[in-house]
């Protein structure tokens, strides 16, 4: 299991993760959901020992701060993208990472077959598609059957076919009742397929901790309003919208406001009443929310 208590990670003056506590039990697959910069990847990087942090993280009962190596031994990790040397062969990569985990690979085909890469052991990295590389990363993550699986937006760089294949593979692995899975994702369909719990993050803080069913109904009911407003009025507009209960924030050249059904006109009306002109707006669907909100 994973126990994250009062996790705080700051980059200079910016708090990327602010006092976050999450406990994940065996058999649970927990999705971290939120906008870019919400803190999903930062939490994952703290769990995998890539960042120093304040707070405590226990992986399978091991204090990750004090015994990072032992804690990482219990983690199978799949990154957003695999950055291996182009000349490395699939079989060599698996054997190398297996040896680092203290495992011996007797049957390479069994390892590759598990992720639908049977017969690919002699291929070089440069010959693999993005989807194949991610499945290879999954095969490596599963070496030695670690009790914890950590996935960092693993389908972000894949096309629809690659994404579908990986999610199908992951959905059977995520249902293992002895394993706990922590993953970051932008995609509603992915979360519905893999998670049984969703932790919603906003600017480094947990805003909600939901079952996947509640999450699905919430995102189905909520849209994201993107407002184009003149730069000098943006901060005033955010303050106004927050005053009437919306969680508005800046994003690029606009303001993003999650809005429930029946409330979609209200932010625009409120701004008009306060003489702040809205030059344009977009209404984004549920599946787009993670990547924008």
């Amino acid at each position: 299991m994973i126990s994250i208590q009062h996790l705080t990670k700051r980059f200079g003056k910016i708090s990327a993760v602010d006092d976050v506590s999450i406990t994940i039990k065996p058999g649970q697959a927990v999705a971290l959901w939120g906008a870019n910069g919400a803190g999903k990847t930062t939490i994952i990087r703290c769990v995998t020992g890539l960042y120093r942090y304040k707070g405590t993280i226990h992986v399978n009962g091991i204090d990750a701060t004090r015994h990072g190596k032992a804690a990482r031994h219990a983690i199978g990790y799949v990154p957003q993208e695999l950055g291996f040397n182009d000349d490395l062969r699939v079989g060599a990569a698996i054997r190398f990472f297996a040896s680092l985990r203290g495992s011996k690979i007797d049957d390479l085909d069994r390892v590759l077959g598990r992720v639908n890469l049977l017969g690919q052991h002699a291929k070089r990295m440069r010959e693999l598609s993005g989807g194949m590389k991610q499945r290879l990363a999954l095969a490596i993550a599963l070496i030695g059957d670690p009790p914890v699986l950590v996935l960092d937006e693993v389908t972000a760089s894949l096309d629809a076919v690659g994404r579908g294949e990986l999610v199908t593979l992951l959905s059977s692995i995520a249902r293992d009742e002895n394993r706990c899975v922590l993953f970051a994702s932008h995609r509603v369909d992915e979360i519905e397929a893999l998670a049984n719990r969703v932790v919603m993050l906003e600017r480094g803080k947990i805003v909600e901790d939901l079952t996947v069913r509640d999450f699905a109904s919430k995102v189905a009911d909520t849209s994201l309003l993107r407002l184009t407003i003149e730069a000098r009025y943006r901060l005033d507009a955010i303050a106004l919208l927050q005053k009437i209960g919306f969680t508005a924030h800046l994003n690029g050249r606009g303001i993003l406001v999650p809005v429930a059904a029946g409330q979609r006109m209200r932010p625009i009306q409120c701004l008009a009443e306060n003489s702040i002109a809205v030059h344009d707006f977009d209404l984004l669907s549920a599946s787009d929310q993670g990547s924008h909100s």
Partner: protein, 275 residues
Amino acid sequence: MNSMIRNIVILSRRDFKEAVLSRWFILYTIAFTALGLCVSYISAGAAGLGGFGRTSAGLINLVLLIVPLMGLTAGAGSIASDRERGSLAYLLAQPIGRLELLIGRYAALAGALSMSVAIGFGLSALAMAMNQSHNDAAGYLILVGLTIALALSMLSVGMLISVLCRRTAVATGVAVFVWLALVFATDLGLMAGTMTMSISIESLFTCAILSPLQVFKMASLQLVDASLDVLGPAGLYAQMEYGKSLPAIFAGILLAWMVLPMVAASLIFKRRSPL
């Protein structure tokens, strides 16, 4: 401790394979070997390949120019390139320690550099042996050892640069700058300092032995000539002041250049994000 050594061995074995198959290794080995053979031939004049002593003397300047560049650039690319590619973070998310990764990589590159130097010197030696020039082979072997020590000290500096730089291009640029500074600025700087500031012989010698290249040069010249007269007053001063302890001083300085930058690199690497 056992798992630490095991991980270092696993990492260095893989990195060594990658290093000897890399373009830099092949190019440097070919260049070093070809130039070594040329120097051997030229140092013997028109008479063909010369003996070990004459060839050693000829090789010193070649080593001073090429070997630091080999060590610095190999080291500079070692961590920065993995960081840029994203594979450093992935590696460090595995059950390995940062120090293990750094030591493993150093060992692998040290092995590859030593192999490159050994091939270069070895082929020159083979050519001379075929020409039946067997005199002073022991000195030649010590020169090989000194060259490897110089390469490893420069590798250590290169790895420190690599740990400090986020991008490979920047790390390589800094490494080339350090190489230029060491190869040209130290010689010229010492000459200029002597002439303009009239620094004392003691200070001149102290300044000179701060540079690993100067230490290599003095140690090698002493090996070839058995004295440092060729270096002028500073050489004479060193000979008179330190006498038989000079080789130990030179060895200690080269060892310090191997160890201290790596200690600094490991302290920085331990605290820095791999991303």
